[in-house]
Subunit: 606 residues, 2 copies
């Protein structure tokens, strides 16, 4: 199994761990201590040894921040995690706060006393974050104190950093050789007038050198750092124990290999009197300090790998279509299996396990392999479906009862593509209100799937299309509508997004999710998610502006029992029927006899 | 008449004026000279003596910027003015460039040589602009040189600064006394921890002190400056010759009055060792220099008047409804008159004059007065309609010919409200393609008019609603969809807008335009514009999120001859019919017997 359902969080640990941390803080004469949900690479999903926020507070969402003071402790999470926070964290020890509306920097400005000492680990704050905290501290008359990580001192059984095996990501999947990619990135570094670029994002390393790893659960990442010069061989800092002989030979031809322990000395030597392109939203302030102390000049700019990684090439696009076919077959088999069960006899964990099993066997049947899940399956029955980033464990596990909705958000990592799909399923006879709400969400999903938009359009310009039908009924959802997705890489990949903050133009070749939802606390959650590919769109006769549009990649039925067809326009019905016809045609040859009949019914025209 | 149709621009002047400017530049050893479309107050519409860009280049749009070098001269305009620029400016002397995509700051970075000297008038660049030019100059290794305005030295018949009469804006229209407003703004200044606020935007002065003037054509503005202390009397710098005895008595009770010539000395004295709230997008860098030299501290922040001015109070809202009724009657009488004319017998100037006349007489008939037009009427027949901010003059004047479209964008300044309306009219039998395009634009207009959206929604979130129908046909328009509108103040008023850059939440009480369009160069222009008021919206049963929506203020028929009813959904048809019913009911009592029958036909249900 690629996932477990252990109760990883115990709110009762918070109090004594907090006491231990405060003891360390007093030793360092600190009034506050910053605990970000972060590692040295700004990974969204952290390697186990870096799960410091979770260890300290009990909160294990994928975004958060704690400010620990001697008398109080505040955990900041975004609206996706508000419910989850209440369940996982001891309310006597920790106060909750909204990460977006009242961020920790504001908290510092308003709450830190004059001359207060605020401790932080400079490996865990980026250059940009450090700057913002510095500004807040200054406004409060307080000081930021860089110090070794205090959690590491009090975490007795902290795991060691990971040593996941490094694999070569073959050009038959990558579509472009590492040598070509390096040349491309080196041109970008030259164009910025820089001597070097410091890459700290493992996804950038993986893309650039065509390697994949398993240092982080669900994300095929290799933890490491790289210094790419404008000319000549890149330097890659990586633990050699991770390399098979093949990988070692492959990498030795491309780069100079160094152990991570050599980073400081080598960076100092390389960057002295040189200009170094650093992404202020990725590079740790510690590394910037090293460069500046070496007499190097930091040039701020986006990680040059970000855009080429986001714009998939033809080989990657063809790969993702194959991965989605395979994944669609697995999901279809799962949905068909689920429909055959008597309501109440399956629970959330059972369903998640079964789906994972279908993904494993389907991949094998179709001459491929499920390398990993793309993330812990969100398997939420009834009210648990309303917890936007729910992770089921033995304590929260619920049966899929008659008359409820079941929300399943899951994905697979295949060597040719990363998938991410959400389906909301009627268990028995669904509540009438749920059908209306589901149809509103579907209208939003379709509006986005059908959108045609001019070059230069950004995600922010499209987000409203997915919400309009809900808004008309006085409803909304508290998360973004779409995130970028990698090619056998992170399931959350920038720079593009469809959300209120999506300022990145959507370019052909980008993969993004289309996932509006609606949540009724204590009752049910609804989300419909397909991945889509940005493509150039046909211009209708008489049209004058070059247009883009989306191709839907995900292939699985959308539950017809939750749709009120009368609420759909003919254009919307047409999209649904065409999509279902395509799903049926593409999946039927692979779903097996058990599911064929089910699929025909599940995809019938309405 | 509140407008004239003179040919104000003569491209042939450009060459010799440019030569004169270059002579001055050589005298000052300047390699480049910046000529913004700006006065000391960052007015959008400039007083005549500040029309330096227009005098130099011939271009008289409402936004632009020139960078004059010894060998070349570039005029930067946005996409609204691309066509206009070609007609008004001598292409042998001036090159055109896009103000948004390739702004002058970028031009400086790429084109200024090392040690180049770039001259500018520090009264005409804001603190923020100055900073951006400084950065660009630094990147190029060039220097910014503040100097007295060079255009003023070579403009022989430059008009004197205006001395428009100041009127008291009665509380029966303002809805709140100046004393109350001053207290409100002073709280905001205190909350920012500042001792003073420097106000340089005439619209802020007018709103705060409840005065109106006529220093700028079409905008009832009083040019001046104010220093508002957190406690005590504000200081107002204004030419006393503008004040009637009444206004003098009124203002003397509220503020300390000073002549503008006293500004530098008084500002130096007031701000020494004090913190002064300055809006970096409004305050001239010259004034910031004075404060800094005096030992004052600049605190950057938005002009505190901006938001209270944008959020209209109940008296202002009731006033604007009355103004729109009056204006709607005038427009209706005009449209009815126009329909009675034989195609080809009316020209653009004739139409604009006739409409102005209807506005004057209608206001008088309805016990009010047209104080001014809100802007020069855009009266564009056929291909001239495709010039987005067209201003007709004797040279460009065209007849409204059979088989063409006529676009009229106009507005009135009444003491109780400012209006702005665009109607596109079929002259004779319109081309079939124009009907389809008009209907697409109408669909966008209706989508926005009907929008319901959660608190916190910004203009950027709604802009796409107005474009979606056009996008689906491969079409788009190159301007924003809506701008804020003042209450007997500027017809373009921030901070809200409906556009790709509209980051300001739309709050109840804000007035904004809803004006999608579509333009076919050389053929026709289409725009449908109503003003709308942001209001709290009813939440439908089952709704869970507080919602806002729009109330349409503008009252005038939308040309049914340009609508293909088959392209409208039943919801869209319903909006149109309900709107037309309201227009008919509200206007009929006032339009007079000539127009009653026409109005009934023009507003019949489809």
């Amino acid at each position: 199994m690629f996932q477990n359902f252990d109760v990883t969080s115990d709110p009762s640990n918070g109090r004594k761990r907090l006491a231990a941390l405060r003891k360390e803080m007093r030793r360092k004469k600190l009034d506050h201590y910053l605990v970000p949900h972060a590692d040295q690479h700004q990974n969204e999903y952290l390697p186990k040894h870096a799960e410091r926020l979770s260890w300290l507070t009990g909160f294990f969402g994928s975004a958060g921040f704690a400010v620990i003071s001697l008398k109080q402790a505040v955990v900041f999470v975004d609206s996706r995690y508000t419910l989850q926070l209440r369940e996982q964290v001891d309310p006597k020890s920790f106060k909750g706060a909204n990460l977006i509306d009242t961020p920790p920097t504001n908290w510092i400005t308003s709450n830190a006393k004059k001359r207060a000492r605020i401790g932080y680990d400079p490996w865990l704050l980026t250059v940009g974050q450090h700057e913002r905290f510095l500004k807040s501290a200054k406004e409060a008359g307080a000081r930021l104190i860089a110090c070794p990580n205090l959690i590491d001192r009090i975490w007795p059984d902290q795991p060691a950093p990971p040593l996941g095996r490094v694999e070569i990501h073959d050009i038959s999947h990558a579509g472009k050789s590492a040598a070509d990619k390096i040349r491309e990135i080196q041109s970008a570094i030259s164009a910025k007038g820089c001597n070097h670029c410091l890459l700290t994002d493992p996804a950038s390393l993986c893309w650039l050198f065509n390697i994949r790893g398993s240092d982080v659960m669900h994300n095929p990442l290799v933890l490491g750092f790289a210094v790419v010069p404008a000319k000549g061989r890149p330097h890659l800092f990586i633990d050699k124990r991770k390399l098979t002989d093949d990988a070692n030979t492959y990498l030795a031809k491309l780069v100079m290999l160094h152990p991570p322990s050599a980073l400081k000395a080598r960076l100092t030597k390389l960057t002295s009197r040189k200009s170094v392109l650093c992404d202020p939203n990725l590079v740790a302030s510690k590394l910037a300090d090293i460069i500046v102390k070496a007499g190097g000049k930091i040039v701020r700019g986006r990680d040059p790998v970000v855009l080429p990684r986001a714009i998939k090439n033809d080989v990657e696009i063809s790969g993702t279509r194959n991965a989605h076919l395979r994944d669609g077959v697995a999901v279809c088999r799962f949905l068909s299996w689920l429909d055959a069960q008597i309501p109440g006899t399956v629970d959330e964990i059972g369903a998640a396990k079964q789906l994972e099993q279908f993904r494993v066997t389907t991949a094998k049947n179709m001459d491929s392999e499920l390398k990993e899940l793309s993330f812990d399956t969100i398997s939420g029955a009834g009210p648990n479906g309303a917890i936007v980033h729910y992770r089921v464990n033995e304590a929260t596990n619920r049966a899929l009862d008659d008359g409820t909705l079941y929300l399943n958000d899951s994905g697979g990592q295949y060597v040719d593509g990363t998938t991410d799909i959400t389906r909301t399923i009627a268990i028995g006879t669904p509540p009438k209100q749920a059908i209306e709400d589901f149809t509103l969400v579907l209208k939003g999903h379709i509006a986005l799937a059908l959108a045609r938009f001019p070059e230069g359009t950004r995600g922010v310009d499209l987000d409203t299309l997915a919400r309009k039908a809900l808004w008309a009924e006085g409803k909304d959802y508290g998360h973004g509508t779409g995130h970028g997705v990698g090619s056998y890489l992170n399931v959350h990949e920038g720079p593009q997004s469809i959300s209120k903050r999506g300022m990145e133009p959507l370019l052909p070749g980008m993969i993004i999710s289309n996932e509006p939802g609606y949540y009724v606390e204590g009752e049910y959650g609804i989300r419909i998610e397909n991945l889509v590919l940005v493509r150039e769109a046909e211009i209708p006769e008489g049209g004058t502006t070059p247009m883009h549009g989306f191709e839907t990649l995900t292939l699985a039925p959308i539950d017809l029992r939750l749709i009120n067809a009368e609420m759909l326009s003919s254009g919307e019905r047409n999209w649904l029927n065409t999509y279902h016809e395509r799903v049926r045609n593409e999946l039927t040859p692979y779903v097996g006899n058990d599911s064929k009949k089910w699929l025909a019914t599940a995809t019938k025209a309405i």
